[in-house]
């Protein structure tokens, strides 16, 4: 057993660690010891790390092969960009217009979703379908169930979602500009940025929830193509969204986004994302997600609502992608739909697979490795620059063939490790109330 020295509580060591890392990098950056180019690379790596953490939530911990991460990245990016651009540059009549719009969507969605959840529309549909299967074929039952659920759902969305959204919009438009306008513009910009990141991540999570509702009841492979399909729909939307909101500029690329991202922003967001995810996984709700990943039917038999667990993991994973997207938008100050194709959803997959499926440490390491490798390869002589995208799938293939669980597998470092649990205090002597002991024979390996 350990010596008498009491080890520091994990949160203290972790806090110190992050403090040191954060400050070190901040010093390195501000002193210019790393070129601006590499600063951006490291920040990008951290941002992709957040997105990869989200994907790991969906796939590594949640067991869902979802290919739409780039779509949510894009939702977070575009929506947060709309908010800050409006405040700083202005494109709608009111500087708080972008914020009002996105928050209205957020609140509207949340309330509509909460309503749909509490009225259990998804369950309504399934119960209707199963119940109707007594009289109808599966197809007929599905038709009725889906159409009823659709009608009810649409009504709820319009009435509750639309109504609340409108209220929020009016509120924000009137309150925010004078309230924040009183502050010096540098401060108000940071406040707006924080709100933009939050609103964008929230929107991404909510849209994720919405598509999770119908899609998560599908089996594995169908979920894969359904999310792929959604990714394509999102891309088409981004490409054409300028017909709705001209400043998005669609395929011409959105410009004029204030470049508000600095290392502290990125670092703090990453730390928060990491801590939240770690605490989530090592809690009872987190365990249900893992259990559902391992065996959804067995989990149901244990009283766990598999659908709820999966939906939670999926929504959180989408929100993470949205946060990363928001940071991305304000790092590069330029958004083009080509960054959000479904093919780009493969990037976080590669990072996750490379670093370690089911490992938070692995997600971060994988993200950094990927970004540094890909960008670093840019320094190759011009003739070989195109080879970057040839090398990266080859790496993926090699990893899948020889170490499919990734570099770290599912192991973690430092405070991300599962908390140690003290063994049971042995009650001496009594074997009363114990189950008949196993004989030696059945202890032997027999699988």
């Amino acid at each position: 057993m350990k010596t008498k020295i009491r080890s520091l509580p994990t949160w203290l060591t972790a806090g110190l660690f992050f403090l040191i890392v954060g400050v070190t990098f901040q010093i390195v950056f501000s002193r210019g010891w790393l070129s601006e180019y590499w600063q951006v690379i490291i920040m990008l790596g951290t941002i992709m790390g957040i997105s990869t953490l989200g994907l790991n939530l969906k796939y590594g911990y949640g067991g869902m092969f979802a290919l739409a991460q780039a779509a949510f990245y894009g939702i977070g990016a575009y929506s947060s960009a709309l908010i800050t651009k409006d405040w700083v540059v202005g494109w709608s009549g009111n500087p708080a217009g972008g914020l009002a719009g996105v928050l209205a969507l957020d609140v509207g969605f949340i309330l509509a979703v909460v309503a749909i959840y509490y009225l259990k529309i998804g369950r309504l549909r399934r119960r209707l379908r199963d119940g109707l299967s007594r009289w109808l074929t599966t197809f007929e039952a599905s038709v009725l169930a889906t159409s009823t659920a659709l009608v009810v759902g649409v009504l709820i969305i319009v009435v509750i979602g639309g109504g609340s959204g409108w209220l929020v919009r009016q509120g924000v438009l009137t309150i925010v500009p004078p309230a924040l306008g009183a502050l010096p513009s540098a401060v108000s910009q940071q406040v707006i940025f924080a709100l933009a990141l939050l609103a964008g991540a929230l929107l991404a999570g909510l849209i994720g929830f919405l598509i999770a509702l119908p899609l998560l009841s599908l089996t594995y492979d169908y979920l894969c193509i359904a999310t792929l399909g959604f990714g394509i729909i999102a891309y088409v939307f981004f490409n054409n969204a300028d017909k709705l909101i001209p400043t998005l500029k669609g395929a011409r690329g959105m410009v004029g986004i204030p470049q508000l991202v600095t290392w502290p922003w990125v670092f703090i967001c990453a730390v928060i994302a990491l801590v939240v995810m770690r605490n989530f996984i090592y809690s009872s709700t987190g365990r249900t997600v893992l259990a559902v990943r391992d065996d959804p039917i067995a989990a149901e038999t244990m009283g766990i609502d598999a659908y709820k667990a999966r939906t939670l993991a999926y929504t959180l994973g989408c929100a993470y992608a949205g946060l990363a997207g928001g940071l991305y938008a304000h790092l590069y100050a330029f958004l083009h739909p080509s960054v959000f194709t479904w093919l780009k959803s493969v990037d976080p997959f590669v990072m996750m697979v490379f670093g370690g499926v089911g490992s938070m440490t692995g997600s971060l390491l994988g993200a950094y490795a990927f970004v540094i490798l890909l960008e670093g390869l840019r320094v190759l002589p011009a003739a070989f620059v195109d080879w970057r995208y040839v090398i990266y799938p080859v790496i993926l293939l090699v990893v899948m063939l020889f170490r499919p669980q990734g570099l770290l597998g599912s192991s973690e470092w430092g405070f991300l490790k599962p908390p140690r649990i003290a063994g049971r205090k042995q009650v001496q002597g009594t074997s009363a109330g114990m189950a008949p002991a196993e004989s030696q024979a059945s202890e032997s390996q027999r699988r």
């Binding site: 369950r123 119960r127 199963d130 119940g131 299967s133 007594r134 939240v276 605490n279 989530f280 809690s283 009872s284 709700t285 987190g286 365990r287 249900t288 893992l290 259990a291 990943r293 391992d294 065996d295 039917i297 067995a298 989990a299 149901e300 038999t301 244990m302 009283g303 766990i304 609502d305 598999a306 939670l312 089911g358 599912s410 649990i421 063994g423 049971r424 009650v427 109330g433 114990m434 189950a435 008949p436 002991a437 196993e438 004989s439 024979a441 059945s442 202890e443 032997s444 390996q445 027999r446 699988r447």
Partner: protein, 272 residues
Amino acid sequence: MSQSIQNPSTSSNSIVLKIDGLTKFFGGLRAVHNFNIEIKKGELVGLIGPNGAGKTTIFNMITGIYPVSAGHIIFKGQEITGIPAHEITQLGIGRTFQKIRIFPNLTVLDNVRVAYHPHARYNLFDGILRSQRFSHGEREMTEKAQEFLGVFGMDQHQDTLASNLPYGAQRRLEIARALATEPDLLLLDEPAAGMNPREIIELMELIHFIRDRFDLTIFLIEHQMRVVMGICEWLTVLDFGEILARGTPEEIRNNPKVIEAYLGTQATRMVA
């Protein structure tokens, strides 16, 4: 955890599970037809029959994994037909599977802790923010799980990954885990599968032990005649989805229709 709904009587005569006219169609294939049964509290009842007779299908319908085509399932006086599986478990039905279905990538301790989730005293946000409620609730769950494992002699394995356990231990874990959900009715699907005679005797002892210790009613599917004849109080025989016979093990053993179903008409002539 038991919710007495309409029948608060705890007399040993109360009916725990009542099934009526249970039928299951898979498209055009009729897998189960008109199954019915009444199981009283504390009984140890068996469901036997040739392979493919529909036994697991019946269990799947009781636990809510398959939708029911027709019929009613009434548990402790409450109709549970069509209720989602996780709610049925929370009402008090636990179950093991023919092919062991523990959570392979979770530790032994976590396998059991999952069972306590529906009654966790903290929610998602407590977990993320690591509030007081979380620490207390988590400690409570952990101690409860450890004590439970202790009853089955598995607490020293609490940190072992479930997939690393030997087969026999996995089976025990699966049963222990099902019991952690504090059921009133336990469904065991071929618990003796893959066991040697020595282990089968231990399993039979274990089943008797848990029935008494946890005040259970047990309904089990089994092929091993030793188990069936040894511990079941009475049996229902299923063939091609329909009830073939019902009675005590002795009665069933000598029933010509049952012999025929298992062995074919040749054997009946030989026995007669």
